[in-house]
Amino acid sequence: MKMIRAIIRPEKEHDVVLALEGGGFPALTKAHVFGRGKQKGLQVGPVHYDMLSKVFFMIVVEDDQVEDVMKIISDRAKTGFIGDGKVFVSDVEEAYTVRTGETGL
């Protein structure tokens, strides 16, 4: 199992969620976060924005589904400009369902 953590533009949230749903991944967790990347925020004229608003998605899927999810996210969240976001993938050793106590997704 792998955990996919994606940080994307807030205006692309709707698109990405729809696409994930269509791709068979209805289960996800989202949070609104603030952050900055390599460019150290954003400079617009005299104004410097240190932290930018982003949407954070957390999705746990089986190993063979990781590529599908990453493709969906990168297709839908892409604009080609800086600030499109990042996707991180990490290992998950075990998942438990609280209601039943079962292991696995």
Partner: protein, 140 residues
């Protein structure tokens, strides 16, 4: 060293923290998140059984239905909504993982959909900022 991420119901937070403190896990990070699971969020019948199961009617009551209720090409046919949850982030090294998982499951189990999920992740390193300790010493 392992990281335990648990998604739980918001009103169970205090109870869960108390139960975790009882087994010696006091350091917890709590996030406020929205989410949904395999069922695709809470559906009308689960909220109120008396409520008409009409999708149009349901979307009139809820002012902000999630994309799937509006999506023409969606594979889901029922109205779904983001469910507010708390995400607990716990890093443990001494207390057995099974004990923590068992405690969270015991407190949060109601038998209904939406009780939550628990994920166990491997963790490579930790650093205590105050002293500069690394690894297990930073957690204990």
């Amino acid at each position: 060293m392992k990281e335990i991420m648990a998604l739980i119901r918001r009103h169970k937070l205090t109870e869960t923290l108390q139960a975790l403190a009882d087994i010696g896990v006091v350091s917890v990070t709590v996030h406020s998140v929205n989410g949904r699971g395999k069922q695709g969020g809470s559906i009308m019948e689960n909220v109120d059984p008396e409520m008409p199961k009409d999708i149009e009617y349901a979307s009139k009551i809820y002012t902000s239905p999630t994309p799937s209720s509006m999506a023409g090409d969606s594979t889901l046919t029922k109205p779904v909504f983001w469910v507010p949850k708390n995400l607990l982030d716990i890093v443990v090294s001494e207390v057995p993982i099974e004990k923590v998982v068992e405690t969270i499951m015991r407190v949060n189990r109601s038998g209904k959909y939406g009780d939550g999920k628990i994920f166990v992740l491997p963790l490579r390193d930790a650093l205590r900022v105050r002293t500069g300790e690394r690894g297990d010493a930073a957690i204990i």
